[in-house]
C-alpha cells in the first residue's frame, strides 16, 4: 500500500503512457521515495502488478539502474562525483575526506542511519566541479571545508 499522495502521483504517471509497463521507472522512483529510499520484495511485487509485468522483470530493471536501492540508504545520501572533470579538480580527495569525516566507506551507511555515501560517475555538473548531490539537491564547487559545513548542518537537521 502506498501513501495517498504517492498513490495519486502513481495514477497520474500511469495515465501518461500508452502501455502500463512504460511507466515502470517513474513508478519505481515514487515507490522508493515512499519506502525510505529503497525497494523491498513487497514493493517490487506491488509495482509489478501495477505495471502488468512479472516481479522478475522489475528485479531485472532495478539491478540495471544505479538509482534503485535494495538496501536502506542513510537519511542523507551523499553522492560524491569522482568522474573525469571532478577528479581533475579534487573530486577523489573530496570523497576520501567525506569518508574520513563520516567514518564510513562509500557504499555504506553510518550506524545511526543518518548518512550514507556513494561514489558517482559524472552527475552532469562538470563546469561546477567538484559536484555532490545530497538526496535531490546539487552542491557545487565543494571544497573539503564546504563539505564539513554541509555535514554539520545536516547532522543538526537530522
Amino acid at each position: 500500500m502506498f501513501s495517498p499522495d504517492i498513490q495519486k502521483q502513481i495514477d497520474h504517471v500511469l495515465s501518461r503512457y500508452p502501455i502500463r509497463r512504460n511507466a515502470l521507472l517513474p513508478i519505481l522512483h515514487l515507490a522508493q521515495k515512499d519506502n525510505e529510499g529503497y525497494l523491498t520484495q513487497e514493493v517490487i511485487n506491488e509495482v509489478a502488478a501495477l505495471c502488468e509485468v512479472t516481479p522478475t522483470h522489475v528485479e531485472g530493471v532495478i539491478t540495471f539502474y544505479t538509482m534503485f536501492k535494495l538496501k536502506k540508504p542513510g537519511k542523507y545520501h551523499v553522492q560524491v562525483c569522482t568522474c573525469v572533470p571532478c577528479c581533475l579538480v579534487g573530486g577523489t580527495e573530496l570523497l576520501e575526506h567525506t569518508e574520513e569525516r563520516l567514518g564510513i566507506h562509500a557504499g555504506y551507511t553510518t550506524d545511526d542511519g543518518v548518512f550514507s555515501i556513494e561514489e558517482m560517475e559524472c552527475i552532469g555538473a562538470c563546469s561546477y566541479a567538484p559536484a555532490v548531490i545530497v538526496n535531490e539537491d546539487y552542491h557545487e564547487q565543494v571544497t573539503p571545508e564546504k563539505m564539513d559545513q554541509l555535514i554539520e548542518q545536516l547532522r543538526t537537521q537530522a
Partner: protein
C-alpha cells in the same frame, strides 16, 4: 578577445529574466510556435534542413534529414523523444537550458512535435537531474494551465501532450535505442540497427530522438530564418553551440559560442587561461569519448569539421582541459574505468575490452607497465572499435588509442625498470 554569441542564452544572460511562461512570452516567446502552426509540417522540415542544424547530442547528424526519415502512413502514432540524459562525462549544457530557460526548450520541443506529427512527446531526463525535472514539470504545468498544451494548441486544432520521464542512473541510456528501451520500462540495452527508430522506435512506433540543445535551436531558426542561423558558423557547421568548459581553467562554465571560435580562444578568452598560470598539456575536446589533443593542436575551429580535421570530434561539446602537472595515465585509467562501469555487457569486445584495458592501466599505475603491455592496450582498443552493437565500444576505444599515440612518453614513465615505484 572572443565573446559569447547569444542565441540560446539570450534570456539566460539577462540578469532580470523571469523564466516563467509570462516572462518568456514577454521576451518574444511562442512567436516561432505560432508561426510553425501556420505552416505545413513539411515546410518546417525544409526550413530546418536549410538551416544546416546538426544534432547536438554527439553525432552531429543533420536534424531536418533525420525528421524526413520518419515512416509515414503506418497507422501508428509518431513520437518525438527528447534526449535529456546528458551523461557523457564533461557535459552539463542541457541542464542550463532546462533549469534557466525551460520555456524556450519546450517551445522547440512543441515545434518539433508539430513538424513530425507527434501528439505526445516525451522528455527523457537523467534521474539524478531532480532540479531540471522539477523545472520542466513546473513549466509544462504552466503550459497546460494556459491552455496551450492539450487538445488545441493555440487554436490550431493540433493536439499535444508533453511528459517528463525520469531515468534512473545508466549512462548507456543516452544512446538513443537504449533510451527507448528504458522509456518502455525495460533495462536500457542498445538495439541492433536497422530497424532505426524512425521506423520502429518507442513501443515499435516511428520515433525521432533529439537532444535538448538541438530542439532549443528551433525557435530562433523559425523566427530569424535559416540564413541567420547559418551565419553563426563556417560552411556545414551552422549555428552557435554550448560548450561545457571544465578542468584546469580559471573560469569553468557553460558558454555559448559561434562555431567560428577556436579552442585556444575558448580556453584563454572565455576560460581565463590555465589555473595557477601553468602550461596547458592537453584537451579532451568533445566529451570523454573524443580523442585527446595536445597543447600544440588547439588553433583550430571548435566545430564539427575543425575537430574532425585533427582526428578528434566535437561530440557533446564538452571541453575538458588539463595542465602540465596532470598524470595522463591516471586520467586515461579514470576514463576507462567509467566505460567499464557503464558497458551494458551485451557485446564481448566492449564488456571484456573495457575490463582488460582498465586492468592493464592499473598495472601501469602500480609500476608494472611494459612495452608489451602498452601494445596489448592498443590492441584491446583496436578490437573494440567498430565491432559492437552501439558506439560505446568506440567511445571507450578512442581515448585509449589517442592517449597512447599522443602521450607515449608518459606511458614509458610507468615501465617497470623506470617506474618511480620499482626504482
Amino acid at each position: 578577445m572572443l565573446e559569447e554569441t547569444l542565441v540560446l542564452f539570450r534570456n539566460i544572460r539577462n540578469p532580470n529574466y523571469d523564466k516563467s511562461l509570462k516572462g518568456y512570452l514577454a521576451s518574444g516567446g511562442h512567436k516561432a510556435l505560432k508561426q510553425a502552426l501556420g505552416m505545413k509540417p513539411d515546410e518546417i522540415v525544409q526550413v530546418v534542413k536549410d538551416s544546416g542544424l546538426r544534432g547536438r547530442g554527439g553525432a552531429g547528424f543533420p536534424t531536418g534529414m533525420k525528421w524526413s526519415f520518419m515512416a509515414k502512413g503506418t497507422g501508428k502514432p509518431s513520437y518525438l523523444v527528447c534526449n535529456a540524459d546528458e551523461s557523457e562525462p564533461g557535459t552539463c549544457k542541457d541542464r542550463e537550458l532546462m533549469l534557466k530557460d525551460p520555456q524556450q526548450f519546450l517551445e522547440g520541443m512543441m515545434i518539433g512535435c508539430f513538424a513530425i506529427g507527434c501528439n505526445h512527446g516525451y522528455i527523457y531526463v537523467r534521474g539524478e537531474y531532480w532540479p531540471s525535472i522539477k523545472s520542466l514539470n513546473a513549466a509544462i504545468d504552466e503550459l497546460y494551465e494556459a491552455g496551450i498544451l492539450g487538445d488545441n494548441v493555440y487554436g490550431s486544432g493540433f493536439k499535444l501532450d508533453l511528459t517528463v520521464h525520469t531515468g534512473a542512473g545508466a549512462y548507456i541510456c543516452g544512446e538513443e535505442s537504449a533510451l527507448l528501451d528504458s522509456l518502455e520500462g525495460k533495462r536500457g540495452h542498445p538495439r541492433v540497427k536497422p530497424p532505426f527508430p524512425a521506423v520502429s522506435g518507442f513501443n515499435g512506433c516511428p520515433t525521432t530522438v533529439n537532444n535538448v540543445e538541438t530542439l532549443a535551436c528551433l525557435p530562433y531558426i523559425l523566427t530569424e530564418g535559416p540564413e541567420a542561423f547559418k551565419a553563426h558558423g563556417p560552411e556545414n557547421n551552422a549555428g552557435t553551440h554550448l560548450v561545457s568548459l571544465s578542468g584546469h581553467v580559471n573560469r569553468p562554465g557553460v558558454y555559448e559560442i559561434s562555431m567560428h571560435a577556436s579552442i585556444r580562444e575558448i580556453i584563454y578568452d572565455l576560460g581565463g587561461g590555465i589555473r595557477g598560470g601553468k602550461a596547458l598539456k592537453g584537451v579532451i575536446p568533445g566529451g570523454s569519448s573524443s580523442p585527446v589533443i595536445r597543447a600544440d593542436e588547439i588553433d583550430v575551429n571548435y566545430s564539427f569539421d575543425g575537430l574532425s580535421k585533427i582526428g578528434s570530434m566535437m561530440g557533446s561539446s564538452a571541453m575538458m582541459v588539463f595542465d602540465e602537472d596532470t598524470d595522463v595515465v591516471q586520467l586515461l585509467h579514470r576514463i576507462t574505468r567509467f566505460y567499464n562501469h557503464e558497458s551494458c555487457g551485451q557485446c564481448t569486445p566492449c564488456r571484456e575490452g573495457t575490463h582488460w584495458a582498465r586492468q592493464i592501466l592499473r598495472d601501469f599505475l602500480s609500476g608494472n607497465g611494459s612495452d608489451r603491455k602498452l601494445k596489448r592496450l592498443h590492441r584491446v582498443g583496436q578490437n573494440m572499435s567498430g565491432t559492437t552493437v552501439c558506439a560505446l565500444g568506440d567511445a571507450a576505444a578512442f581515448p585509449i588509442m589517442s592517449f597512447v599515440s599522443k602521450f607515449p612518453e608518459e606511458f614509458k614513465n610507468y615501465f617497470e625498470s623506470t617506474s618511480p615505484i620499482a626504482a
